[in-house]
Subunit: 339 residues, 2 copies
DNA sequence: TCTGGCACTCGACTCCCGAGAGTGCCAGCT
DNA sequence: AGCTGGCACTCTCGGGAGTCGAGTGCCAGA
């Protein structure tokens, strides 16, 4: 374990490196107010910190740079998110006080807010649809052989699925099927609906064959995999790009962010490991070796509903990012709980 | 005007520069099979092309680089999109043959297809909602004072608007209002609906006051500005990033792409000027000085419905991008016309 | 156990020079 | 008249030498 002095020195190195992106030398650390020993002593400590794997020296005559382990120590000793500055927390409050309207728009705006606050890329994963209850189901015929199932969920989200019919269905048939479907689904969750069998719907009980066939087709679609249908909103990629200096790195990161499914899994994996910060390779993705991810779940009506996160360089302002993510997650959850 | 020789030389310089990103010297042009004069002659021609503004010389002992005017000439003399390679046009065909389901998903996938084909960023602007006819309207109560208007359009798109009510409305009131609304709206376009007055809806004619108030609130929302509600799908930003070498440039371009409204305007402005390619500053955006934009409208049921485009560096493969954009626009329009 | 001092290392920066790519111009050829 | 080969010139790029200085490790002494 690190004694108090080494911890202080490590803290100073990390802080300094985050600020300047330059390797930090012992004399520079000595000027830090928390440290009251000479640079020679610091040198000894830094050498030892290096052998223990917290610091790395790019070359002999350079200062030290934190390793992932060094950042990890730094983040752990932060001990959770601090408070956000007054003007920033005011900004968050007014944002959530003013925002209204469609949930998707709000989540997208939230990702923009978070990236504005942190100057890194922000990811907002919407609440999963499976757990929300169905408020309304409607079947709308688009063409003779294609209908659209529109499902309104209690949280204002909408799910829609095209249903390919194997017969020409007229309006009456479609709307009859819609009514039957609605009667069975409203008030249940999507995952319950997914478990429906045709029997539960009463297919075949004194109904037209055509209606039955539409219902069967609709059920088949609704039974489909609802996992990972979460919507993902990503903002501030330009801020993120500006934080790196190699265009190749930026390109690789963008390639990751383009795969929304991968992003969702990434965040949930990190959260699943009980972390709120994943540093470099801890993200589990080689392409993000130079990145860190700060995540937090948000809670709607007492249930974990979704995840938000911030993606930046490993030398990110962890304390600020942690606070921002925590505050935004908190407010977002509260806002969504209002209904 | 340029004589035949100068045109050929300019063509050769542009082609070469697009390929190599290196300033092109006269001796290099001389090796090109279309050119059968000595490098000295080419030098004279290139000097004259420079004074005429088609080429630029970074410094005395360097080769020439095309200016925007040079690219403009090159693009104009291409005379429209050529044919796409066999395997690529096959790729487009199978993509549109296989794709099915939600229109949004399809447009998003289209942007991915286009960026895959071109290796640049691709933008797909969805059909505007105002001109589609309403297939179904539904009012769903979410809470006592918030209802959701869900509008299904004939092309399978969905528009939804939250409606804040100034009274507590029970289910019956909301659904009654919904039925009345539907009766009036179905079959019309959204812009017609937007022009509705309360009188047209028959508000007040033998109906409950509560229903009327819900209807008035709903109409107010639907009257809202529908312009620029087009959805935008952007893919391949990572490819785009890889085509530049300054991270600052990439960041600026991403900042543009994050503003979807701006992107839509950009594409439509270019198209409005009758162009299919905007080079550098021709895009009208200073931040895109190093970019070119290749755009094409797509046509659904005989009507211009939307726009697709490709954003890459000024030294992009114009002929290929033009062909890809043209083919994808064509197929996309055809696919959406099927219904 | 900490500190000041000291010798040492090694990258960053500068300067310089040569190589090479490219140019402009001119005289001569067709 | 127009093209071409030749030539002198320019300027970037890359490598090498030299210097600077930030930073280190280690040691002797308080």
């Amino acid at each position: 374990m690190l004694d108090e002095r080494k911890a202080t020195i490590l803290r100073a190195v990390v802080t300094e490196y985050i600020e300047t992106a330059q390797p930090v030398g012992s004399s520079h650390v000595a000027t830090s107010p928390e440290v009251n020993v000479s640079s020679a002593t610091i040198r000894n400590a830094m050498a030892s910190l290096e052998t223990e794997g917290y610091l790395h020296q790019p070359h002999t005559s350079a200062g030290r740079v934190p390793t992932e382990k060094g950042y990890r120590f730094f983040v752990d000793q932060l001990g959770g998110p601090g408070r956000l500055g007054a003007s920033e927390s005011q900004q968050v409050r007014t944002f959530f006080a003013r925002t209204h309207g469609e949930i998707e728009q709000m989540l997208a705006d939230t990702s923009r807010l978070l990236s504005n606050l942190t100057r890194y890329a922000a990811v907002v994963v919407g609440p999963p649809h499976e757990v929300a209850t169905v408020r309304s189901v409607q079947l709308v015929g688009l063409t003779q052989r294609v209908a659209l199932a529109v499902i309104v969920l209690s949280n204002g989200a909408i799910e829609k699925h095209t249903i390919e019919l194997d017969l020409d269905a007229d309006e009456l048939v479609v709307s009859t099927a819609g009514t039957r479907l609605a009667a069975a689904c409203v008030g249940r969750t999507l995952s319950e609906v997914g478990a429906f069998t045709t029997a539960l719907l009463g297919v075949g009980q004194g109904s037209e064959a055509a209606v039955d066939r539409v219902l069967v087709a609709a059920l088949a679609v609704l039974r489909g995999d609802h996992r990972h249908e979460e919507q993902v909103f990503i903002g501030g990629t330009s801020e993120m790009a500006a934080a790196f200096d190699a265009v190749g790195t930026v390109s690789e990161i963008l390639r990751i962010l383009e795969q929304q499914l991968l992003v969702v899994n990434l965040l949930e994996d990190v959260l699943g490991r009980g972390l709120s910060v994943a540093i470099g390779r801890e993200t589990g993705n080689e392409a993000l070796a130079d990145c860190s991810l700060v995540v937090a779940p948000y809670v709607v009506d007492g249930e974990a509903a979704g995840t938000i996160g911030v993606l930046g360089p490993t030398r990110m302002h962890y304390d600020h990012a942690l606070s921002a993510v925590a505050v935004v997650a908190n407010r977002l959850g509260r806002r969504l709980s209002e209904g």
